[in-house]
């Protein structure tokens, strides 16, 4: 039981931090509330889910004490009979959850928001497993409205909406997660919501806002001893500063990311790969090449394609035909996932640097075809456009290289030491 003082402090906190209203619907998809469910589940089960959702949303719109008489007195029995009649025995689990939601209709003033939220969350899990993501999202949102102090739930909805490609709506949920987390002092969702917000702002090119969010995330992560996340945020800060062209700050954040004593350091190879690309693009070709070689040995899964592409490009610039061929063959043999168009574009860049015109042409064509398969439009990765721009890029790289020669000894030392540190971490990880 919290003391009066604690309660007052908590109320002050709630007053102080207003929580933005979340966007519950995609404004571009009008129509009856919850229609997405009927689009995904065209059956009697779909109608029951839809009706239950609408009852819960109506319930959540009112405060305790205002809910008396909100629903028809015969509605609970009717709903029970409909569930009994329409939900097949094989879906007993769903039947239980839908029955649990009748509490909102049956005793609106006594129904427990947390219990309703729990049932909604279980229905969302069921819907996710049934391959109906929009239904899952509708019920997650309903859960969040029934348990309006749950920051983790709001954060999960933000991720889910982001996955559906609705950035503004996702951002409104991240903001809500932030506000709730701050009120309830639930620091993990707080840090993760700031991280998600920072990434979104980075994508939009709003760098100062992104930086602000990352800094808040990293400070809280450090204070709460969330080492893995702290390292991840420093990694993102490094990417942000390198994108913004702030080389000194980028290096500093990369160093911070490496220095966080994260026990698993699961994202170290990706950090190293990004540092390799950064060195390559800032004229420190040798460092870039060495680090990318190590990263390509360790990175598997979705990130592998991008890493192999970057290595092929660096190998081309370094004149290392053997490594270039290896990276190209690996890409060809192993990988056909996200980032393929960009990876093949990098192979074309490496081939051009090596003077392999035919290989460059083939890689550019591959980049174009995989961009078309992914986006339906090759856009900037159209083969002939790409081959034209590569020539310009190579000239620009020469200028960058010349500039890198002008670094003073101290600046160069910072690069050298950091590269050495990355390579020795690779060596430690592989036990040599």
């Amino acid at each position: 039981m919290p003391s009066v003082k604690e309660r007052e402090a908590n109320e002050d906190e709630i007053r102080r931090w207003r929580i933005p209203p979340p966007l519950l619907r995609d404004a571009d998809a009008p129509g009856p509330e919850g229609l997405a469910i009927l689009e995904e589940i065209r059956s009697e089960v779909g109608v029951l889910l839809w009706k239950s959702l609408r009852s819960v949303l109506l319930w959540a719109e009112f405060e305790t004490g205002e809910r008396q008489g909100l629903f028809d007195s015969e509605a609970p029995d009717r709903r029970r009979q409909e569930i009994e009649r329409s939900i097949p025995a094989a879906k007993a689990e769903l039947k239980d959850e839908l029955t649990a939601l009748i509490a909102a209709v049956d005793r609106p003033d006594e129904a427990d928001g947390d219990a309703l939220a729990a049932a909604c969350e279980r229905i969302a899990t069921w819907a996710e497993n049934a391959g109906t993501p929009l239904t899952a999202l509708e019920f997650l949102q309903a859960a969040s409205l029934c348990a309006p102090r749950n920051a983790r739930l709001a954060l999960d909805i933000g991720y889910a909406v982001q996955g559906l490609g609705q950035p503004a709506r996702a951002e409104s949920w991240f903001q809500r997660a932030l506000g709730l987390a701050r009120q309830t002092k639930d620091w993990e969702p707080y840090v993760l919501a700031y991280l998600a917000h920072g990434r979104m702002m980075t994508e939009w090119g709003a760098y100062p806002a992104a930086r602000q969010s990352y800094i808040k995330a990293v400070r809280r992560a450090a204070r709460e001893n969330m080492r893995e996340v702290e390292a991840e945020v420093y990694h993102d800060l490094f990417l942000l500063e390198s994108r913004a062209g702030n080389t000194g700050r980028a290096l500093s954040f990369a160093r911070d990311a490496l220095n966080v004593p994260a026990p698993n350091a699961t994202r170290f190879p990706e950090l190293a790969r990004d540092m390799g690309i950064f060195w390559f693009e800032t004229g420190q070709f040798q460092h870039g090449f060495s680090v990318l070689q190590e990263a390509a040995r360790q990175i598997e899964g979705d990130e592998r394609g991008r890493t192999l592409g970057a290595l092929a490009r660096a190998a081309g610039k370094a004149g290392d035909r053997e490594t270039f061929d290896w990276a190209r063959q690996e890409l060809d043999r192993w990988w056909d996932g996200p980032g393929a168009p960009e990876a093949w574009a990098d192979v074309a860049r490496g081939a051009t640097a090596l003077g392999l015109k035919q290989v460059a042409k083939e890689a550019a064509a591959r980049s174009e075809s995989s961009a078309q398969a992914r986006d339906g439009d090759a856009g900037e990765l159209a083969a002939d456009v790409l081959l034209d721009t590569i020539q310009t890029e190579l000239k620009a790289l020469e200028a960058v290289e010349a500039q890198a020669q002008l670094l003073d000894a101290e600046q160069q030392k910072a690069h050298d030491e950091l590269a050495e540190s990355v390579l020795s971490t690779f060596a430690d990880r592989s036990g040599t």
Partner: protein
């Protein structure tokens, strides 16, 4: 500025439902009932686009097997009309519910469940704001943050209810100063101007319908008449209502609104 009741045209035989609607309508809606689809068509053709049409989708169908083709025809002929279907929703009707969604109805009133005034009001209000919200989703190359989009949605609701900045603040559970700060941080016009824009946008959506006079549009938007509407329009775009009509009123005004939002945009802001 006073809240103007919007027409609520009802084609539904259920007397109990009509009584409930009458109770809910009060100052928000001006209720008119019609007896058949032909009458409804006539009324819809003349009603301002701000009207909400509530229908029994099975009206005139002998066995209530499927929604009436007349409903489909009305929705097709008047795609900007805000139509709410009021019906019982047993699970067996899953095809009908989905079909009506496809046809473009704005909301469903479950006559067996949405019986309280609060429930009916919620359905009608949700339907009422959809048109303007949807029009505002058009991509003018000005990406809005989630916070800005939420403020915009709330502003649409406030304008639809004939509200003022203090009502917008109340809807968001903010103090007026918090609302002002949020508008600044979201890089939107201040609350007063935001509501002015939304009201003029609403008026311009109505102006695009050639069947309505400038006077009726002004009154529908809560102005005392055409002069007041002209002044409001002039304060955001340099055109008269007639000029706006010629240019495509909503397109012109919404472009001007997003131009103003683009000018307020600051990528160097530390807080978004």
């Amino acid at each position: 500025m006073k809240p103007a009741p919007r027409p609520l045209v009802v084609l539904h035989p259920d007397r109990l439902l009509r009584d409930r609607l009458q109770r809910v309508a009060r100052r928000r809606f001006h209720l008119t009932t019609v007896d058949d689809w032909d009458d409804l068509r006539e009324v819809v053709a003349e009603a301002p686009p701000a009207a909400v049409i509530l229908v029994d989708p099975y009206h005139g169908q002998e066995d209530a097997g499927e929604p009436s083709p007349h409903l489909k025809s009305v929705l097709k002929s008047y795609p900007s009309a805000t139509v709410v279907a009021a019906l019982e929703t047993p699970p067996e009707r899953y095809r009908d519910l989905w079909t009506m969604g496809e046809w473009g109805i704005a909301e469903i009133l479950q006559v067996d469940e949405d019986v309280s005034s609060e429930a009916i009001r919620k359905r009608l209000l949700s339907a009422r704001s959809q048109q303007l919200r949807q029009l505002l989703t058009h991509d003018y190359g000005v990406p809005l943050t989630g916070r800005a989009r939420a403020l915009l949605d709330a502003a649409v609701d406030t304008v639809m209810a004939g509200g003022h900045p203090r009502d917008l603040a109340r809807e968001l559970d903010f103090s007026p100063s918090t609302l002002l700060r949020w508008c600044q941080r979201s890089q939107l016009p201040n609350p007063r101007r935001l509501l002015l824009w939304m009201r003029v946008l609403f008026a311009s959506a109505l102006l695009d319908d050639p069947g309505h006079s400038v006077y009726t549009v002004g009154v529908a938007c809560g102005y005392s008449g055409d002069q007041a509407l002209r002044r409001a329009i002039r304060s955001v775009v340099p055109y008269t209502p007639s000029e706006l009509r010629e240019k495509g009123a909503f397109e012109t005004v919404s472009r001007a609104f997003f131009d103003e939002v683009a000018k307020l945009r600051d990528d160097h802001a530390e807080r978004r």
